[in-house]
């Protein structure tokens, strides 16, 4: 279950709530890390974290809401599950609009929270996987020579070898050699797949 060293981060000022939640998550087999304030969590390299964040919305000093906004600024894509008291639903809705994954209300049912944590971790894994994939593609694209890149662009636009040869004022045979290099470097045989890869890398 715990692919890629995912950690459930818990930011909660109330020591008992934090301790009990960490115990519960550990019993469930998750790796966890607890923080007593928003500020102490920000000491982490937040952009590099894997897993999800269980965040108390109401804390002295920096609130959960403020921390969430700050994380978005810092490029942290960690899925966030807000934990709210009663009467904080309006706040929770606002948080959702800003991209929080979900929220649970205190005192919560264990199943609700665990399910949400599971969902958030899956989402994170997916996101991270997509990112890694994209990164790989980008590296492949970067390995192309300028001429190969130029020819690949024209291929994606759907130009035949002949059209490319005329356009670049080179022989059709040369185009064919470049073309096979591009396919080789990008690791594919199908033009359709190449198009998809380039679009994904640039999304």
């Amino acid at each position: 279950m715990n692919v890629m060293n995912q950690i459930v981060y818990v930011v909660e000022d109330d020591e008992a709530v934090r301790d009990s939640l960490l115990l519960l998550l550990r019993a469930e087999g998750y790796s966890t890390k607890g923080y007593s304030s928003a500020q102490s969590f920000l000491e982490e390299e937040v952009a590099d974290l894997n897993g999800c964040l269980v965040l108390d919305i109401r804390m002295p000093g920096m609130t959960g809401m403020e921390l969430h906004k700050k994380l978005l600024e810092l490029g942290c894509a960690l899925p966030v599950i807000f934990v709210t008291g009663h009467g904080d639903v309006a706040m929770a809705v606002e948080a959702m609009k800003l991209g929080a994954v979900d929220f649970v209300q205190k005192p919560y049912r264990e199943e609700d929270l665990l399910e949400k944590v599971k969902g958030a971790l899956a989402m994170d894994a997916e996101q991270k996987e997509a990112l890694r994939h994209k990164e790989k593609l980008r590296q492949k694209i970067e390995s192309l020579t300028p001429r190969e890149l130029e020819i690949m662009e024209m291929m994606i636009e759907g130009n035949a070898n002949k059209v490319i040869a005329i356009e670049l004022n080179i022989s059709q045979r040369t185009v064919e050699i470049h073309r096979s290099r591009v396919m080789q470097k990008m690791g594919t045989h199908s033009l359709a797949q190449l198009v998809q890869m380039v679009l994904a890398a640039r999304s």
């Binding site: 008992a16 002295p60 919560y108």
Partner: protein, 540 residues
């Protein structure tokens, strides 16, 4: 009281009268001629009997009285005159040929002032007459003056509302004014001759020992006044009346300085029934005001808790959340193939402590809103500050405001109604937080408790809000003044009333860098020892 004696006064201004008494006409003639033309009015009598009748009619200032007369002799005339107060004031000089010491002594014994031997020298007669007339005049003046003083004294004493006794060396009442009679519900003369202590302190009907001055103690105290000249002042005693009834008094017993006086001490006393009644009414009014404030404070606490409901719910929810989590954990531990006993113990302990935490929050709130029946008690300022902070934390979390406490350690104990003082502090703290919340300002509310130099304990709340507009600063503690949309305007007024009832001060000053500082002080004082104050007593 008697009016001024007109006869005595008129006598002072008239021509001096001299009565000459001798059975020998020749002697009478010589005397007459000797004194005639010197401005005296001269009267003559040739026998004792005639002399008596003239004296009774004319009251001469001076009588020259022959001793040897047929019928009534001079000594007898003199004794008769001196025995009758109406005639006793005339001065008498004896005239006699008897020149022996015995007869002179007899003359003085009979009441004469001087003695002239026959045959007399003219100059001697004139000189003695003038001297004795002068003495007589001075005596008359003195007597008149004395009478005036007596009358003045009597009218002053009878006009006084205080009761006054003169006491003899043995503590008997030898003088009582009319106020004394009035207070004792009897004729003042009937008090004369009675022992002051026996009269007022012999009644043993002070069941609760209210009259700390019983017969024995009072006898001893009075003895000290009479023998050692120590004054006695008692502010709170009971006198028994001759009819057996009792009334509360304040009294002083002052020794009179002179030994040759019949009065050895003066008692001044007054009935304190009305004063006591007024004091009781005042106390009743004070208690009723106290009860009303207490009631109002209670209502205000209830409403404050209502306003804090959200925060309180959150405060109870926290341990509940933790408890639910721990229980799930315990469940898992129980279901595991290998029971981790240590972890289970630890988890159960955590559950227990969270249950206690929740119940403490509830207990704290219950204490805060309970009916006002607890009254004042001794409580350390540190405990008080801690209780205040526990409730204030709830509100601070609710407003997302930091609460920064600065409590001096080892503060003394205060004699206070703890809940009411908590209420005042919480009110000020909440005001600060609300002010910051409304202005969407973040920051901290500071709560400081410290010894104020010489003024007891200082409690200070400083916020970082927008501060109090200058035009409102003077109205802060006025009833029904509020700048809040949903306020009644009684919060600070009530705070002031509570703090004043504790003998403290409450006030406001603008913060140094914006914001406001509200503060109050409470005096450090010990719990009064008993309810009833000891009788006020002092010996000077």
């Amino acid at each position: 009281m008697a009016t001024v004696d007109n006869k005595a006064v008129s006598k002072l201004s008239r021509q001096d009268q001299i009565l000459l008494v001798d059975d020998n006409p020749a002697n009478l003639k010589i005397l007459y001629e000797t004194l005639d033309g010197r401005g005296y009015k001269l009267l003559v009598a040739d026998s004792g009997e005639k002399a008596l009748s003239i004296v009774r009619k004319s009251h001469p200032d001076l009588i020259l009285l022959d001793v040897m007369m047929p019928g009534m002799d001079g000594f007898e005339v003199c004794r008769t005159l001196k025995q009758d107060p109406a005639t006793a004031s005339s001065s008498i000089i004896f005239l006699s040929a008897l020149d022996d010491t015995d007869s002179k002594v007899m003359g003085f014994d009979a009441g004469g002032v001087d003695y002239i031997s026959k045959p007399f020298q003219v100059k001697e007669v004139i000189a003695r007459v003038e001297t004795h007339l002068k003495i007589h005049r001075l005596e008359q003046q003195l007597e008149a003056r004395n009478r005036e003083l007596q009358i003045d004294k009597a009218s002053i004493l009878s006009a006084m509302s205080e009761g006054i006794y003169g006491l003899s060396r043995r503590g008997e009442i030898i003088f009582a004014n009319s106020a004394a009679g009035r207070m004792n519900a009897c004729d003042e003369d009937s008090l004369l001759g009675r022992s002051f202590v026996q009269l007022h302190f012999s009644q043993a009907e002070n069941p609760e020992g209210e009259n700390a001055f019983d017969l024995d103690r009072m006898t001893e105290r009075l003895q000290r006044v009479l023998s050692k000249n120590e004054a006695l002042r008692i502010g709170n005693a009971l006198f028994t009346r001759p009819d057996g009834s009792v009334y509360p008094v304040a009294f002083t017993v002052t020794p009179t300085a002179r030994d040759d006086h019949a009065t050895h001490a003066v008692v001044v006393f007054h009935d304190t029934t009305d004063e006591i009644k007024q004091a009781e009414e005042l106390e009743a009014a004070r208690q009723s005001a106290e009860a009303q404030r207490s009631q109002l404070a209670h209502i205000s606490r209830l409403s404050m808790m209502g306003e804090m409901a959200a925060g309180i719910a959150h405060e109870v929810n926290q341990p509940l959340t933790a408890i639910v989590n721990y229980i799930r954990v315990a469940n898992r531990i129980a279901k595991a193939e290998q029971l981790d006993k240590a972890l289970m113990d630890e988890t159960l302990k955590k559950i227990e402590s969270q249950c206690l935490r929740a119940s403490q929050v509830i207990q704290h709130i219950r204490d805060f809103v309970k009916k006002p029946l607890q009254g004042k008690e001794m409580l350390s300022a540190n405990t008080l500050a801690r209780d205040i902070l526990e409730l204030a934390e709830i509100e601070a979390k609710e407003h997302g405001i930091e609460l920064r406490a600065n409590i001096e350690p080892s503060l003394p104990e205060l004699y206070i109604e703890p809940v009411q003082v908590q209420q005042v502090a919480l009110n000020l703290l909440r005001n600060g937080m609300e002010a910051m919340g409304h202005a969407n300002m973040r920051g901290a509310v500071k709560f400081k408790v410290a010894q104020a130099n010489g003024k007891g304990i200082l409690f200070e709340v400083t916020d970082e809000g927008p501060g109090v507009a200058e035009e409102h600063q003077n109205n802060l503690f006025s009833p029904f003044f509020t700048t809040k949309k949903s306020g009644m305007g009684i919060g600070l007024t009530l705070c002031q009333s509570i703090i004043h009832s504790h003998g403290g001060e409450i006030g406001f000053r603008p913060g140094e860098s914006g914001g406001s500082t509200f503060y109050f002080t409470l005096p450090v004082r010990n719990k009064p020892v008993g309810k009833r104050d000891q009788p006020a007593e002092s010996a000077q």
